[in-house]
Symmetry: C2
Subunit: 259 residues, 2 copies
């Protein structure tokens, strides 16, 4: 009697291999399939879709236990995905999960996020991919309430697949007394950051600037990820990498660029 | 009699302040308006939408001549845009241009490109923004044939504006005997990179991996940027930052995620 083959699941993140969030995600995935972790050897938050082209990359195997392997990579989250596919698996995993990110990747944050860029790179490679984030920046964040939801979402993606070129951006509210109410399938809210820079002088009296800012949601839609999270739902946004604004094409065609 | 106010144009790139491409773009923009250059102090290719959050940033004024100012920044292209707005202009420029990039940012390259991420950050901030790239990686690339087109596109954007949340991804073919035929307004072609890694050992006998790859266009559409460039047209793709895949929303709603 043949045993059903367990799926191969690639796990990565942007907070680095030592972050509690990736340990939690790895444990959940080990209940579902064989797990390969390839994660940055240091925090890589805010790296967006950066890749390393001008430097060599290092890859180090740090753990093997049965069908569970763990590597660190000196590069960005997207480098981790590319190296895992090309040099470790030499093929595609059945599922790619990134996270659990310490902090939100909802709405516009998707564009700055190394975690979501890893999931997006998976989608570019044709791998069903999901990024998970918890709205809690603390290192002792409580991932427990999100675990059954993460498992269910991953199992559904393995079962039903995702459309070509699409990955999922999953954000999970922090439980503050109120329990998570469930899951909402959403669109990305229109929001931005009101940036600011803390300006100061280093010990050598040279000025420096340090990025800070306040998140500003400009979208009152009840079908957005921001609405869902505010009302204690997990938000699931299907995200793609076709940047084309099709409406604007016809407008620009009226300009006289070839005159 | 009041003189018509010249527009303020912010210029940046990802190849760094010393790249010939940004000098060419700066010269073209000085014919149109007052120019502020804020560019990375070193090459930042492939940085995608990375921002610097864990490190302080440095900003240095290196040139002032009338209504032309030039700064270097220690961060990424997106950092340059954020710092220019927050700490130099303390407001918004009338136009943001990034480039001229040494090498293509067509189709999927938009996601890895620091140049296009600078333009996208401009769009997030509500600034009419354009990224320009020439399909020539050489440092002695000939930007001359593209100059009248770049000027015309920038003038049109200043005149007509862009829809909210949209920037332009402009790619320019390298003239190989054949002249540029004109401008096509396009959608982003479906393409990817067949990645590979050169594997070798450093002088200390430790293995390293260096990213390389072959570009693979899978899109035969004649309305794509790849088609336009192949046929010696300049491609203009209007690009936005709403990643939502609206079609997939209804599909996932049928899953039993709340059961």
């Amino acid at each position: 009697m043949s045993k059903k083959k367990r799926p191969l699941i690639l796990v990565t993140n942007d907070d680095g291999v030592s972050a509690p969030g990736i340990s939690c995600l790895t444990d959940i995935m080990r209940e579902i399939g064989d797990v390969l972790v390839v994660a940055p050897d240091k925090p890589q938050s805010g790296m967006g879709h950066a890749i390393t082209v001008s430097q060599p990359l290092r890859l180090q195997r740090i753990h093997t236990h049965g069908n569970y392997r763990k590597y660190t990579c000196s590069g960005t989250p997207v480098d981790c995905v590319k190296l895992a596919i090309n040099k470790i698996i030499c093929g595609k995993p059945d599922l790619l999960v990134a996270g659990i990110n310490h902090g939100s990747n909802s709405s516009i944050n998707i564009i700055y996020s190394g975690t979501m860029s890893a999931a997006m790179e998976g989608a570019i490679e044709g791998i069903p991919s999901i990024g998970f984030s918890l709205l809690d920046y603390e290192s002792d964040a409580n991932f427990k309430p999100s675990e059954p939801y993460i498992k269910k979402i991953a199992e559904n993606v393995l079962k039903y697949g995702l459309s070509e070129g699409v990955c999922l951006n999953v954000n999970i509210p922090k439980e503050n007394g109120d329990k998570i109410k469930g899951v909402k399938i959403c669109r990305q809210a229109k929001a931005n950051w009101d940036d600011d820079y803390v300006e100061n002088y280093d010990p050598h009296k040279r000025p420096y600037y340090w990025l800070t800012g306040v998140f500003a949601n400009q979208d009152e839609g009840t079908d957005t990820d921001e609405w869902a999270l505010k009302h204690n739902y997990i938000s699931v946004v299907p995200a793609h990498f076709d940047f084309t604004d099709h409406q604007m094409i016809s407008l620009i065609k009226k300009w006289k660029l070839n005159a």
